[in-house]
């Protein structure tokens, strides 16, 4: 089909109708989730299988085009996911061998394949995903299209009203009106800082120096977070549209999306989306027939957490080492190539079209007074229902972990939830009723961050978690300033000392003192927030630290130096599985007899623990 450029809002309306008609042709649609989680679990194989089955079986009234590869549907824990719309029939953990049944039974005979439906821990089975608690408690704005449209097809996006907000901005609003609308919405930066987006845009727009740049931060360096990845891969056009609206508001004609290299699909889909949008005249020169032009380029990051920091990111876009620079020069004034620059993250931009479309007031009503709208989280860890979620600001941690997340796996007690990535902190059970918004989390010693939410149970050791994050930050420190480079490293060494049972209580004091200096003296946000993993855990879990120090014991059974693996003679049936698994040859015993572990040989790798089906290996 030859593509004619969309040259006016009318053209866009016409195109939208046309796209909707194309969609309506299919009475039913089959959505295969190709989000990061599902792909890791073999979704690509399932897509291929569907294609070949559909070709072979020729279902009446269902063509191959009615099958869509979508972005992340959210419920990653249950992936790969297949949804049949409009009924919302929701199949989980689909294997290649299940595909034929879905085709035959659901697509041909309109029947549900019961054993592929989701069964909640309370044994209740759901047919329609919208009824599942995991989805029911969510409100999706940034993730609105994820799992519902083909990620690689601009026509799908246009069919659901895509680029209408851009058309509205360009034709009915002045740049200052756009900024006003974003200010009214109360949208705050979703990358973690929480700076009001409208104010950022306004200060850039005011600067007379040209050119202005618009950058989208898709670096998402926080381990345990994948919201931005999901949006870039699942709904790339919403990001492009948001950026274009921003560019119009701040008078920019050049934008960059900084995507980390570890996300090759995001790079590919964004590139594809940019190409498509340019073909349709929705990006590039003379957008929608106006004299507004905006070009977006993709800049692949080289893998450095510090590049999430705005000045480091801009250096990286310019092809240099990502070292942050002093804060007193604001990047809005002197950003990329020392020009005025607006930098927001993926999720922030994805919210923008909705704000323009439905109005800032509408958006501001959602969430709390100081934190408007919704926030996407990757809810992961020891939670039953892990995945990608979006909730209104102000939802409590309890609602997220227990109502949406379904509580802790294996019914173990909740211990903590970690938010804000490496710079955030761990919140214990008595903070579960805190409202999730920028200010409350910061006050409690954690932070919103970009939206990783990692749930921990009693099998998680806070000393180990602090050690883990400190190690991460040490590895990711750019090494420019002393407190971050040397201070975090020494803090890490002290945490190691605790985990090995070699520390004294003096060391804790030393760590707290050092943390204070690192916060005051570091150059950039990475250093300034570096001690948080330690500070938030010592604040809420001092006893656990003291148990490591005084009793030389790790209550969670994680710190290698402080634990031993032992065979529970009562439970052991002498199956020899552990003996075969033990690389250190530390376990002995005959078949059918109770095995024993030679502690002098044991290197505590945990292999025996993992293979024992009878739970006869105990950690002490």
């Amino acid at each position: 089909m030859a593509i004619t450029k969309v040259a006016s809002p009318k053209d866009l309306d016409k195109l939208q109708k046309q796209c909707q008609t194309e969609q309506d042709k299919h009475k039913r649609k089959l959505m295969v989730c190709c989000g990061p989680g599902c792909l890791a679990n073999g979704a690509a194989e399932i897509v291929t299988e569907f294609k070949s089955q559909l070709k072979k079986k020729r279902i009446k009234g269902f063509s191959v085009e009615a099958m869509k590869e979508t972005g992340c549907h959210g419920f990653c824990e249950q992936g790969p996911l297949v949804v049949v719309e409009p009924q919302g029939t929701f199949y989980t953990r689909v294997k290649k061998k299940d595909v034929e049944r879905i085709v035959e039974e659901t697509l041909r005979n309109n029947k549900v394949v019961d054993d592929l439906l989701y069964t909640a821990p309370d044994e209740k089975t759901y047919r329609d995903y919208r009824e599942i608690p995991f989805y029911k408690h969510q409100k999706r704005i940034a993730l609105r299209n994820l799992g519902h449209i083909n990620q690689c097809d601009i026509r799908d996006y246009i069919a659901v009203g895509g680029y209408q907000a851009l058309a509205k901005a360009l034709n009915k609003m002045s740049p200052s009106k756009v900024i006003e609308e974003v200010k009214t919405s109360g949208l705050r930066g979703r990358g973690g800082g929480g700076f009001p987006a409208g104010r950022k845009w306004e200060s850039c727009a005011r600067l007379e120096e040209r050119p202005h740049y618009v950058i989208c931060n898709g670096d998402e360096g926080d381990p345990g977070a994948f919201m931005d990845r999901a949006i870039m891969e699942g709904d790339p056009h919403s990001v492009l549209e948001g950026m274009a609206i921003c560019a119009y508001a701040v008078d920019s004609s050049e934008g960059y999306i900084y995507v980390r290299e570890e996300y090759p699909l995001a790079v590919q889909f964004l590139q594809e989306a940019i190409r498509e949008a340019e073909e349709y005249g929705l990006l590039g020169d003379n957008i929608l027939g106006t004299d507004f032009s905006f070009h977006i380029k993709i800049s692949r990051g080289g893998g450095a957490f510090v590049c999430g920091e705005s000045s480091a990111l801009m250096k990286s876009v310019a092809g240099e080492v990502g070292e942050p620079r002093a804060k007193y020069i604001r990047s809005v004034q002197k950003g990329l190539y020392d020009r005025p620059t607006v930098l927001n993250n993926v999720e922030s931009y994805a919210n923008v079209p909705v704000i323009i479309d439905r109005g800032g007031k509408w958006f501001a009503k959602i969430g709390t007074e100081t934190s408007a709208g919704t926030k996407a989280f990757s809810l992961v860890g020891k939670v039953v229902n892990g995945g990608l979620i979006e909730v209104p600001m102000g939802t409590t941690l309890r609602e997220i972990v227990f109502d949406i997340g379904g509580g802790i796996r294996n019914d173990r007690p909740f211990k903590a939830v970690q938010t804000g990535g490496p710079s955030g902190g761990c919140l214990p059970d008595d903070k579960l009723d805190l409202s999730v918004d920028f200010d409350t989390l910061t006050k409690a010693g954690s932070m919103m961050g970009s939206g990783g939410m990692i749930v921990m149970d009693e099998g998680t050791c806070v000393v180990d978690v602090a050690k883990y994050f400190l190690k991460f930050l040490v590895d990711e420190s750019c090494g420019k300033c002393t407190p971050c480079r040397e201070g975090l490293y020494q803090l890490y060494l002290l945490a190691v000392k605790i985990s090995e049972g070699m520390a004294t209580e003096n060391d804790l004091d030393k760590m707290e003192q050092l943390s204070g200096v690192i916060i005051d003296a570091s150059l950039c946000g990475l250093g300034k927030s570096g001690p948080n993993p330690f500070l938030s855990t010592i604040r809420y879990f001092r006893d656990e630290y003291l148990t490591h120090i005084r009793d030389k014991r790790c209550p969670a059974g994680v710190c290698k130096a402080l634990i031993t693996y032992e065979v529970d003679a009562q439970a052991c049936d002498g199956c020899m599985a552990c003996i075969h698994a033990c690389a250190a040859n530390a376990i002995s015993g005959k078949k059918g007899e109770v095995h024993t572990i030679d502690q002098t040989k044991c290197d505590k790798c945990g292999a025996c623990f993992a293979v024992c089906n009878r739970h006869a290996i105990k950690v002490a």
Partner: protein
């Protein structure tokens, strides 16, 4: 070791001949050779008119780059938070002791390289191990043999 530098002009042609293209060019070289050969760095410096010291600096700063050749199979162990608390460290220990190398190293027969990566965004499937492009989700300590065999 000699490497075929005739591929460089193709890579150079993909990006504007400006210092800004440095990271992109290095990424493509890394992809082509699986590491950054010295000669390629020197050619890049010349082509983009960037001091060689800067090229060296950038190529050692970012995780994506390696100055040492990698093995046939690159085993990437995700060390995202979720993977960590679900036991990725134990899996790393197993893989390291099985291959007799540490993370970041390559076996002397150039068959395996172990790398630790900072979260691949598949946290719901933790712990995750990726061998070249194949994902292993929810890996157990006793599955490392299988992973090495490629099963």
């Amino acid at each position: 070791m000699n490497h075929d530098m005739s591929k460089l002009p193709d890579i150079f042609a993909r990006y504007p001949q400006k210092p800004q293209s440095l990271i992109a060019v290095l990424q493509d070289i890394q992809k082509e050779f699986n590491f950054l050969p010295c000669e390629a760095l020197k050619e890049t410096a010349k082509h983009l008119d960037v001091p060689l010291s800067k090229v060296f600096s950038v190529s050692t700063f970012y995780n994506a780059f390696s100055l040492n050749p990698k093995g046939e199979k690159v085993i990437r162990i995700c060390m995202g938070t979720t993977c960590h608390i679900r036991g990725a460290g134990l899996i790393q220990d197993q893989l390291e002791s099985k291959l007799g190398i540490k993370a970041g190293q390559t076996t002397s027969d150039m068959k395996f390289t172990i790398e630790v990566v900072n979260c691949v965004g598949a946290c719901s499937m933790a712990p995750v191990v990726i061998v070249n492009d194949k994902y292993y989700a929810d890996v157990k300590v006793n599955q490392t043999k299988k992973i090495l065999k490629g099963g």
